[in-house]
Symmetry: C2
Subunit: 196 residues, 2 copies
């Protein structure tokens, strides 16, 4: 570690290594295989190390998922359409990455069977909706979309197809899918200006 100007404390490195191992175990085996033992083994750490940072499987899971689900940064293309295309393209790319897709699928299943995970998943998704919401709210303020535009519904229409195509229809994303989704939704959100 000589030459590193800001050394990472040893505990922090161990913590992140365990969290990354937790994500790998989840992706590989889903919730049934997600045990403190399996995560310690994958991380090359002792069970004691894992238990030093997390008292239970649930608290470890929460931290691992927070690490994996940072929302996308707010785009700065300067235009509503291109900002949204950037966000939806990133979403389509993310759900297509095998480890993330498996993690997501395991989590969808686990959330149905555990109210804590249900609430955690809702919270993570809520954070992910935020950059899309910001872009749309500002566009509404500028008059780029209708004053009556329903922002939450617009987010459902923008984000829904990526998840549906990947996890329900199991279809690949055709070239230009994100742009086509955005163009359809924007047409509806702009058209509202004349009909309401």
């Amino acid at each position: 570690m000589l030459g590193t100007s800001t050394p990472i404390p040893r505990g922090e490195r161990a913590r992140e290594r365990v969290l990354r191992a937790a994500l790998e175990v989840l992706a590989d085996r889903g919730m049934p295989g997600f045990t403190m033992e399996a995560v310690a083994r994958r991380a090359g750490a002792s069970k004691a190390t894992v238990y030093r940072h997390w008292t239970s499987r649930a608290t470890l899971l929460v931290d691992a998922l927070e690490l994996a689900s940072e929302p996308f940064p707010r785009p700065a293309t300067g235009q509503l359409r291109t900002d949204l295309i950037e966000l939806i393209s990133r979403l389509e790319a993310l759900v297509d990455v095998p480890p993330f897709a498996r993690l997501m699928a395991a989590f969808i299943d686990a959330a149905e069977r555990d109210p804590t995970l249900w609430a955690l998943h809702a919270h993570i998704t809520e954070r992910r909706r935020e950059p899309v919401r910001q872009v749309l709210v500002e566009a509404r303020e500028r008059g780029d979309i209708a004053a009556a535009a329903d922002i939450e519904l617009a987010i459902d229409l923008l984000a829904g197809p990526a998840f549906y195509r990947r996890f329900i229809a199991h279809r690949p994303f055709p070239e230009g899918h994100a742009a086509a989704v955005v163009d359809h939704v924007l047409t509806a959100l702009r058209r509202l200006q004349w009909t309401t």
Copy 2:
């Protein structure tokens, strides 16, 4: 069975009882708990009965899911908008039924880990898309939506929000959600008439 004009053969009744038990086991325990033993126990049948109809867990699963995922009948309201609202309302109601939702979630997870289930899930979803496709294709032929309308993308936009809201965002469906989704998508599909 006296008085029944068309008696159901004994084997058929046993078969359906086992399939319904299979769906219950899947919904309760997900794929990890889905074993021939558990299904036989739930159905009050012997393992021999189960194995008489199905040679493996996978073939039993296929038949159980076919039973649970009959596509919606083609609506006949006589209007594009109300036909689509009927289909999307039924979809929202279906994904909100706890046993179906759990089954769906278990299947999403299992499909990530098993190519056979992936293909089966894709096939089931494809069948479910068919009534929506029919309604849209006929509307395009009549000129109710743009000749250039992308029907497959329209289905993604119509069906995506229901799954996304239920399994990813974990948000309830507000009153009128299905109608609002349909109105946004139709606005886009009609507007294309003037822009292309």
